[in-house]
């Protein structure tokens, strides 16, 4: 089934090393659209990334550093990336060797379309 967001997510998941891309509500982590590989629990991932992004945004607001744009969490076994707009968060899960620069560009382009 295709939604208005399917093409937006596909543009990100096409990048090398991307394991999944999700569009979630920032406030409650509810999934709007998800395209993830088998084995990834989209609901859990969406909720966690939305919460991380929200915490960063609130902290940044409180610190007077204006709006959060692209966020990246780097861990031993992968990356989590997120960008947000109008209460939505576009989240991407990627392998450790993924090219974050290309993923970032794809996510920022996708954000403009949302």
């Amino acid at each position: 089934m295709s939604t208005p967001y399917t093409d937006v997510l596909s543009a990100v998941t096409r990048q090398r090393g991307v394991l999944g891309c999700l569009l979630v509500s920032e406030a409650d982590g509810i999934i709007v659209e998800a395209n993830v590989q088998v084995g990834i629990e989209a609901g859990v991932a969406g909720a966690l990334v939305a919460s991380l992004y929200r915490r960063a945004r609130l902290g940044t607001d409180a610190a007077g550093l204006a709006t959060v744009g692209f966020l990246q969490l780097e861990a031993e076994q992968g990356h989590v990336c997120a960008v947000g707009r109008d209460g939505l968060v576009l989240a991407t899960l990627a392998e450790p060797k993924a090219h974050i620069g290309l993923i970032r560009s794809a996510m920022l382009r996708a954000l403009e379309v949302l």
């Binding site: 902290g59 709006t67 744009g69 990246q72 969490l73 031993e76």
Partner: protein, 280 residues
């Protein structure tokens, strides 16, 4: 009055013997309603004199009111009731540190650390550093420091902390902080263009990101996290874990490339870890 405080107040009014006063007192304390918090906590202690958490709540309210001696009495009561109470050990460690009773502060913080609370790790290291500088080359359990030696030791530690990242940052449009497990600034500086020191505010606002990062990597099975970086309209923020409880934070102008900010963060983490690890 927040919805939570109203709900908890109504619940306590319906059943004055309920231990919901613990939640209500804490909510009032967190919202800086310290007079009300004191009243709730004091009544709670009267009704539940054998409840260690009641005394702990009252102690925390007393500390927030700057009443360190009264807080000490309450935390000592906690330890009589529950000798393994980590909160009381941490609290006493903090109060004794503020009172310049460093050996005793180290004792309580050390016990809290032994009981598995990683959030005291940095505080304990800082107390031990002060003790080392105060007592010269003697081990931490040396004689009680006199005022002059202690003041000199504090100045030395403050100076080291302020300059910890200076050579890494240079004169570039970037700054760095080392935050402890409570989000308090241990080292570094964050001064705005108009000269205002906002280090504590920035540290307190951003330290919660660590909990979210911990939770995310745990549930997604990503192993340990190394960095969280995000771009804002005015700056790039990079955070990285330091030892068990601390956090390094680098803030740089948006004009600096992300990769450079990441390298600066790595160097700040290494510097912070080696500085903190000088004292075990």
């Amino acid at each position: 009055m927040s919805d939570d405080i109203r709900r908890l107040s109504e619940e306590l009014a319906r059943d004055p013997s309920s231990i919901v006063f613990l939640q209500l007192g804490e909510a009032l304390r967190r919202s800086a309603q310290l007079d009300l918090a004191l009243r709730v906590a004091s009544r709670g202690v009267e009704r539940h004199a054998g409840n260690a958490d009641a005394h702990d709540l009252l102690a925390r309210v007393r500390v927030d009111r700057g009443e360190l001696a009264e807080a000490t009495v309450e935390w000592e009561a906690v330890l009589r009731l529950a000798p393994d109470h980590v909160g009381a050990r941490k609290g006493l460690g903090y109060v004794l540190y503020k009172q310049h009773r460093l050996e005793e502060a180290e004792h309580h913080l050390g016990l809290a650390a032994e009981q598995g609370d990683p959030a005291v790790d940095t505080a304990l290291r800082m107390v031990r550093r002060l003790l080392r500088y105060t007592n010269g080359s003697e081990p931490p359990h040396g004689p009680s420091p006199n005022g002059d030696r202690l003041a000199a030791a504090e100045r030395r530690v403050e100076d080291e902390a302020r300059r910890l990242f200076a050579d890494i940052l240079g004169d570039g449009p970037q700054t760095a902080l080392l935050l402890d497990g409570e989000g308090l600034v241990t080292a570094g500086a964050y001064v705005t263009a108009d000269g205002e020191d906002v280090a504590q505010d920035v540290g307190a606002a951003l330290t919660g990101v660590r909990d979210e990062a911990d939770r995310t990597v745990k549930h997604l099975r990503l192993g340990a996290w190394r960095a969280v970086m995000y771009e804002t309209d005015v700056a790039t923020i990079a955070l990285g874990p330091v030892l068990a409880d601390s956090l390094a934070l680098v803030a740089a102008a948006r004009t600096l490339p992300l990769g450079l900010v990441r390298r600066v963060l790595d160097r700040c983490i290494q510097r912070a870890e080696s500085w903190l690890s000088e004292v075990v």
